[in-house]
């Protein structure tokens, strides 16, 4: 599927769009409706797992904010994805505590193993890799969060084993 086709498919996903529009409508009753842009983007990402351009256009229409401004906001904040993430999102903690305890080695292992860099998705779409600032699990440093699960006290070897578990599951 080309990107345009994918975008068309997204724009026509009526159910999600209806949900988003309903959320936007609620925010527009407030005294400062524009101030809810970030909240709306959070909602959109929750629905679509990233922020497709056609969806940003819809938001622009509904909130009467130029798409250019929305794009500016979406690109400013790290939390918003502009491309679809992998099936499993790997967030590697690059907080200081993890760094001091060897996060750099874990990152190298992930890069070597998955052959992708930060912000990229593996060709099979199984994993995407993103940096995380402190996950607050400093006692377990170094840590990686895959989806919502924290894996701690990692070594390069342990990291590879964990990846293999996810790969195995995906094959089933």
């Amino acid at each position: 599927m080309t990107t345009t086709q994918a975008n068309d498919a997204i724009a026509t996903d009526d159910q999600k769009l209806a949900q988003l529009k309903e959320f936007i409508a609620q925010t527009q009753k407030d005294e400062h409706p524009d101030s809810f842009l970030i909240a709306v983007l959070h909602k959109a990402q929750e629905l679509y797992s990233y922020l497709p351009v056609p969806v940003m256009d819809e938001i622009a229409q509904e909130m009467a904010i130029p798409t250019a401004h929305i794009w500016g906001v979406a690109t400013f904040y790290h939390y918003f994805n502009l491309t679809p993430p992998g099936q499993h999102v790997i967030s590697i903690c690059l907080g200081t505590a993890c760094y001091v305890r060897g996060a750099a080695q874990i990152l190298q292992t992930l890069r070597d193993e998955l052959k992708i860099d930060m912000g990229q998705v593996t060709p099979d779409g199984l994993f995407s890799l993103q940096p995380a600032r402190c996950l607050g699990a400093c006692g377990l440093a170094p840590v990686v969060m895959i989806d919502d699960k924290i894996h701690g006290e990692l070594t390069p070897k342990k990291m590879i084993q964990i990846l293999n578990q996810y790969r195995k599951q995906a094959k089933k």
């Binding site: 906001v73 904040y77 790290h78 690059l94 200081t96 600032r133 440093a141 390069p156």
Partner: protein
């Protein structure tokens, strides 16, 4: 059964009556029968024990009673006081202040539950007083430990001016890092005529290696809600906003529930507790931008735009959110407010140092035995924190530095270990208090690499608005990168210093003004490591890969494992004989080092 009653029934009481000669002479034994009678009357007899003690030593105040839970010591007790003590203290969990000799300071509570384990010994929990004790999702738990009592007190007994005056008198300073006096901030906003006014709780904790705010909200969200409501009353704001990181789902859930429960109990909303004061709180999520911890950037983010700072003045206390007067305080600052109201500014002033009052929460992490969240009185030394609370360095390694203040702070070596924790002393030593990240670094870390790590972070997080920060941090990072790659040049250290000082002076906001700190402080305290990297091509911690060579020692048994994993075929040797690494071919990937089971490969 009322909630108070339920709680009272579930608790076991122990009342100690002093049975020393003076107390007996002053009538202590008459108290016992009266106590029994009152306990019977309220149906608490099977859950209570009355014991006699030897002389407690406070003879001039006899007869003495000690009531647990509560650890409250009552003096000059007469028979007529007994019904009040039983009803107020035991049934309603409200110690009778007029008879109490030792006040029930809120922070003491922690030790009653967890005792005086070494980890807690040097700690004093004011903002974390309820963390680990109450169920954070249960408002009744919070209420039973004098929760919202401070709010009730300000609404009934205090004018907004007197609340501001009390906070100002307490000497509380902003816990977000800069240490601006909180009372003064409130005063500025209270003096403004424009309405509506806002109070904001900054929970956008972006410092890598810090999790104080997250844990505080997860452990005791109501204290933040209560603090904000008191702040709202003091400055005349009707709306509060909690700006919290989207990366903290549990904290978001708990603060949301706390706000809903408070609303349901009439502690937020219209006419709180029957007063004319109306106040409500809403939540706004951050989206992962470190610079949004800066107050003007945070305001822009709440307004729904790119979170970039703007020049000050006007300060947010005059022109903040939507151009209206706004008080912005950090989570920890808000959590101090109820305690200051309940225990008083006078008491709060007794904790801490001359210029820094109260306690500070730190996220202690890195190369230290006990990693976790701690709260110590200001003035505690770094040594006490690292060795007494933190349990020292694991694995018999040598301490090298402690990093405070995250990417805005500095690294302090051993000679600064006796520095007391307060805003001024840390600044004098070349670091900052910051929001509370504290990372212990041992001999296995390279200081140039650490400086590079922090600068990579700030460079990446620089919003790009002002040139010194955007371009300057980039250039500094380039220089640091080449030093760690063994390509450092003579004069690089001086160039870093010059650039760093320039960025500090010329940047618009706190992010840029403090970004060079990790580099400047490591140059100041570990200059020899920079020099070794540049002039000798040596990294003493063996971290910078380009400056490390791998060698095989005589421990080698010739298993060939390293030879097989080497990606560039740099290792040669025959079976059962010591192997060698061809240094010209070696790409220093470290695969052989990780593979060897005999510790025969060393980094030099």
């Amino acid at each position: 059964m009322t909630k108070e009653r339920e709680l009272a029934v579930a608790t076991t009481y122990r009342i100690i009556v002093c049975d020393g000669t003076t107390c007996i002479n002053r009538g202590s034994r008459n108290l016992i029968s009266r106590l029994r009678e009152q306990l019977e009357r309220h149906g608490l007899a099977d859950r209570s024990t009355i014991s006699l003690s030897g002389c407690l030593g406070m003879c001039d105040k006899g007869p003495i009673l000690v009531v647990n839970p509560g650890y409250t010591i009552y003096g000059n007790v007469t028979e007529a006081d007994i019904p009040e003590i039983v009803e107020e203290h035991l049934l309603h969990n409200r110690p009778v202040a007029r008879l109490a000799i030792q006040e029930d300071h809120l922070y003491n509570r922690f030790f009653r539950v967890f005792g005086d384990a070494k980890f807690f010994g040097k700690q004093m929990r004011i903002t974390l007083r309820n963390c680990g004790i109450i169920d954070p999702e249960n408002i009744d738990n919070y209420l039973s430990l004098r929760g919202y009592e401070a709010l009730a007190r300000v609404l009934t007994d205090m004018t907004p001016e007197s609340v501001v005056a009390e906070v100002e008198a307490s000497g509380l300073r902003g816990r977000g890092g800069a240490g601006f006096p909180t009372g003064m901030k409130w005063k500025f906003t209270a003096a403004q005529k424009a309405t509506p006014k806002y109070v904001i709780c900054n929970a956008d904790e972006g410092d890598p290696g810090a999790f104080m705010d997250r844990s505080a909200i997860e452990g005791d969200p109501h204290t933040v809600v209560e603090g904000m409501a008191i702040g709202g009353y003091a400055v005349g704001a009707s709306k509060g906003i909690v700006y919290i990181r989207a990366e903290y789902p549990l904290a978001i859930k708990r603060i949301t529930k706390a706000i809903e429960d408070a609303r349901a109990h009439g502690l937020l909303g219209e006419n709180i507790l029957g007063s004319s004061f109306s106040f409500d709180i809403e939540i706004r999520l951050g989206a992962g931008a470190f610079v949004c911890g800066e107050e003007t950037a945070l305001i822009h983010s709440i307004e729904g735009t790119r979170g970039m700072p703007r020049p000050r003045p006007p300060y947010p206390s005059v022109q903040g959110l939507f151009g209206l007067p706004t008080v912005i305080n950090n989570v920890e600052t808000w959590a101090n407010i109820p305690v200051i109201i309940l225990d008083g500014a006078k008491w709060f002033q007794t904790v801490g140092t001359e210029t820094s009052k109260g306690t500070k929460v730190f996220a202690l992490a890195g190369k230290v035995v006990n990693t976790g969240l701690i709260e110590v009185p200001m003035g505690t030394s770094l040594r006490e924190i690292i060795y007494d609370v933190g349990g020292g360095i694991p694995g018999g390694k040598k301490f090298k530095a402690v990093q405070t203040g995250g990417p805005s702070g500095g690294c302090l070596p051993e000679q600064y270990l006796d520095t007391p924790i307060d805003y001024e002393s840390l600044a004098k030593a070349g670091s900052i208090m910051g929001s509370g990240g504290m990372i212990v670094i041992d001999e296995d870390s390279c200081m140039v690499d650490i400086a590079k790590f922090f600068l990579e972070f700030t460079q990446n997080e620089s919003c790009g608005k002002c040139t010194p920060c955007r371009e300057g941090t980039k250039r500094m990072l380039e220089i640091l990168t080449r030093i760690t790659e063994g390509k450092g040049r003579a004069g690089d250290i001086e160039k870093l210093e010059r650039l760093g000082n320039m960025i500090k002076k010329a940047s618009l906001c706190g992010l840029g003004q403090s970004a060079p700190n990790p580099v400047l402080s490591t140059i100041k305290n570990f200059r020899e490591e920079y020099e070794e990297h540049i002039h000798q091509g040596r990294c003493r911690a063996r971290v910078c890969t380009n400056l490390v060579t791998y060698q095989i020692t005589e421990k080698c048994v010739g298993c060939g494992a390293c030879r097989k994993v080497c990606p560039v075929v740099a290792i040669s040797g025959t079976a059962k004989k010591q192997h060698v690494i061809d240094q010209d071919k070696c790409v220093k990937c470290g695969m052989c080092f990780n593979t060897c089971k005999f510790d025969a490969i060393v980094k030099v």
